[in-house]
């Protein structure tokens, strides 16, 4: 995973929050982590990745941020099932939008959502994960890329 990949997801996070609200997200300095449990928050959406590469994408956010996102999207409900839905949909959109640059061989699964700290099989299998901090309003979320292997160079658009 090189700088090009990092930039694709950094830009994707900025575009996502800028697209759903008038407040763009700030993206913090990304870093490698050998144990992402400390980077995960109240709700985590997990996307399985296959095809071009194998691994997972995690989008993890605190309840307060998810409630604010739900209101921003016009949703009147904000209980735990809606927060889980919101975090899963954000993970799906962040990963799906990256196919603009990565192409259709970047195959993504429907989201799995975890409330609380993921354990065991829910944690990455790869040795190190890339953590991209996302700050929106006063909240901090984490976008985590855990890529075990990349089969081909980044594909051309489409």
């Amino acid at each position: 995973m090189d700088e090009k990949w990092v930039q694709i997801f950094v830009n994707g996070a900025r575009d996502y929050f800028g697209g759903i609200s008038d407040t763009p997200a700030k993206v913090g300095t990304s870093y490698l982590s050998e144990s992402i449990a400390n980077d995960l928050l109240d709700y985590t959406g997990i996307i399985g990745i296959s095809g071009l590469c194998r691994g997972r994408l995690y989008f993890s956010a605190p309840s307060t941020m998810l409630r604010h996102l739900l209101v921003t999207l016009g949703e009147v409900h904000a209980d735990s099932s809606y927060m889980a839905d919101m975090v899963g949909e954000a993970a799906n959109t962040l990963s799906g939008n990256s196919r603009r640059e990565l192409g259709r061989d970047f195959v993504i699964s429907p989201p799995t959502v975890i409330e609380g700290v993921p354990t065991g099989d829910q944690l990455p299998r790869s040795l190190r994960s890339l953590v991209i901090p996302i700050i929106w309003h006063k909240y901090r979320a984490s976008l985590v890329l855990s890529i075990e292997s990349i089969h081909e160079p980044v594909a051309a658009n489409g």
Partner: protein
């Protein structure tokens, strides 16, 4: 016109419903996956369908094929996060009439649905 919304996210289903209702569409069904969509389609016979692609059980591509096999005149708008051109082209080749990328605003989904109908009337 009668509209059915297919998406595995309740938040997105509600958002599409608000945008469509503001443009006088009548929501006759909301489905969480392709299997549920086929059941609701047989019952309510919607004229327009919004279709997510990445869903559990039956995905959007398979559901588009099944819906159009049952009712070729159905207008289908794909509403997906998958941003690569190849996926959009595949959906259109299968018979979908439009593609809207997530995220989107309430206004955008309403306007896009109206354009879909205008295209069907004038195209």
């Amino acid at each position: 016109m009668k509209l059915m919304i297919v998406d595995d996210s309740g938040v997105i289903r509600n958002k599409i419903a608000r945008g469509a209702a503001a443009k006088q569409f009548v929501i006759v069904g909301m489905a969480r996956d392709g299997d549920e969509a086929l059941t609701l389609f047989r019952e309510f016979q919607p004229e327009v369908v919004t279709m997510d692609l990445t869903m559990p059980r039956m995905d959007g591509i398979a559901c588009i094929q099944a819906l159009l096999a049952m009712s070729p005149a159905t207008l289908i708008l794909v509403v997906s996060a998958l941003a690569d051109k190849a996926t959009a082209i595949e959906a259109l080749k299968l018979g979908a009439h439009g593609f809207l990328l997530k995220p989107f605003s309430d206004e955008k989904i309403g306007e896009t649905l109206l354009e879909l109908i205008r295209g069907a009337v004038h195209g």
